[in-house]
């Protein structure tokens, strides 16, 4: 009884930490899908790209992975802005985003994954840092630092985005463009530029999420695909565009996955997120906190 209690508590704790991390992973999609209505299923590919970049500079130059990701932020932002520009010109402007836009992002996902396989191979890669290895003990709870640090950074990132969206002009313009593009135009703001900025930010978050991912677990190119379901499950469950909803949904998913993994084995874990996604879409597509 005692053992199983501590097992459950540890699973929940791990789940909450994982959930915090998932929130950062999902933050980017909250912006691109929740606010801009762009179904960027290639987002996990950008995250994995971030992981590999962190790996490269960590393995070859010993740089801390989180530091790498912060330095990489502008590059990822530019990449995101460029991708949006192509997406807008080729699809959004022509009203073709439903079929061809999706195929476009799927192609990007695919190309990124296969390119990484060609460059780095299919072996698992991992990073080294001072906080990877040691654990902290609080009572019966045993949490590895390599879970705590990403969770903390994730929550900071998440908080930063929330502040940005509610307090800055551009942030509020992004919220506005998701609700009434026409009104924004009448105010003299170029909605395309705002969307480009938003998408750039969305991809920039992937840089950080990627570094955090490779801290938590070893990475190989196809890991991205597991995250597609997680990310969209959290987005939909949390209610599109609602940042607090996303956080709660992320925590919930983390805990459920962790408990499933502990009691039924890790090979069932991918099914949790995707199964949850299917159920949500089928029965409550507006999300938990949906209107």
């Amino acid at each position: 009884m005692d053992i199983s209690f501590s097992l459950i508590i540890n699973a929940i704790a791990a789940g909450l930490l994982l959930g915090g991390f998932y929130a950062a992973v999902t933050a980017g999609v909250s912006i691109s899908f929740g606010m801009l209505d762009i179904v960027n299923i290639a987002h996990p590919a950008f995250i994995i790209l971030g992981s590999y970049i962190a790996y490269f500079f960590n393995a070859n130059y010993g740089v801390d992975p989180i530091l790498v990701s912060i330095i990489a932020l502008p590059a990822f932002y530019a990449l995101g802005a460029a991708v949006y520009q192509v997406y807008y010109q080729a699809f959004e402007r022509r009203g073709q985003e439903s079929l061809r836009g999706l195929a476009f992002f799927f192609g990007l996902l695919f190309v990124t994954e296969v390119s990484l396989i060609l460059v780095f191979g299919v072996d698992y890669r991992y990073v080294e840092a001072a906080y990877i290895g040691p654990s902290i003990h609080i009572g019966v709870i045993d949490v590895p630092l390599r879970m705590v640090v990403p969770c903390v950074v994730s929550l900071l990132l998440f908080g930063a985005i929330q502040l940005f969206v509610t307090r800055t002009f551009i942030g509020r313009a992004i919220m506005a463009v998701s609700q009434d593009q026409m009104a924004l135009q009448l105010m003299g703001v170029d909605p395309i530029k705002i969307k480009r900025v938003a998408f750039g930010i969305s991809i920039a978050t992937a840089a950080v999420a990627g570094a955090l991912l490779i801290i938590i677990q070893p990475v190989e190119p196809s890991v991205g695909r597991e995250y597609i379901g997680r990310v969209f499950a959290i987005c939909v469950l949390g209610g599109l565009g609602s940042m607090p909803g996303t956080l709660i949904a992320a925590m919930l998913l983390g805990v459920v996955e962790s408990l499933t993994s502990t009691f039924y084995g890790p090979s069932w874990a991918p099914a949790v997120a995707f199964g949850l996604l299917l159920l949500t879409l089928a029965f409550r597509p507006a999300g938990l906190l949906g209107r």
Partner: protein, 322 residues
Amino acid sequence: MNRVNTAKFALITIAVGALVMAFAHWMHVDYLYFASYTILQFIVLATAWNILGGYCGYVNFGSAAFFAMGAYSSVFIHKFHPLPVPVLIVIGGIVSGMVGFGMGYLTLRLRGSFFAIATLALAVVLQTLVVNWDFVGGSRGAYIIRPEELEFAGITVNYIEYLFALMLLLTVIALVTARTIERSQLGFGFATIRDDELAAEASGVPTLRLKLIATSLSGAFMGMAGAPFPYYIGYLQPSSAFGLEYAVNSIAMPMIGGTTSWVGPLVGAVLLGSAQQYATVTISSAVNLLIVGLMLVAFVIIAPNGLVGLVQERLRAWRRPS
């Protein structure tokens, strides 16, 4: 070309298929059989995908799941009592068709993008279920020993040729079905869903019902393509049955070939399939997939109506005196 009615078209495709069959038999190079079988499989998958994707505008990212379900229903039945492959094909079609219907019923009331994400989710859930299901081999895989030959009405046929002939027949059926739909009232209804679903509803088109028909039909054909696969390949693993190349090719082939008619998936599958067979042998399978991905992205941006669209534009420009 428009005057060719369905019966004539069916006969033409069967004749072409018979010619292909005779040629392959005469050449009798095993590798050619394998390569052609794969291409035929892709023609069916691409045509099936296009019924939902090209005609209705709903993207299915989980083609591999429907294909694999056909394959795994064959494995499942084989463990009890092997049935003739044509029966397995029908069963595979029914199983995948029902899953398509079920999933459609749950998610087709939502936007197209939600449906697409749901198909992705379905693929992973099903793969996870299969990986954890030891009866059909789990992650270790399942062996299916196929007979060397088959007795049929007194004639002994090489089993590979038999499977090839079945796949050829399935391809003919898929193409005839796609073409018939395209020209029928159903095809018209599909096009309105693609063009403007809201206006379609307002004009009296029962969009949900039509979408369910498309999803079920599309899933069924994919399952039918998958049913003979374990016999063809001898050893079935989840990673190969649910392989990414099925998902990406069933999207890339119609989009590159052209999504608005039955010709597109055929053209895309033949060209892209042959190119990939060549590339896999000469370069590597990873590079081959990379090229498919790049071509998909390029075509989707530059030539939204695919190769067929490009040809049509060329013809239109040529016919119009400037």
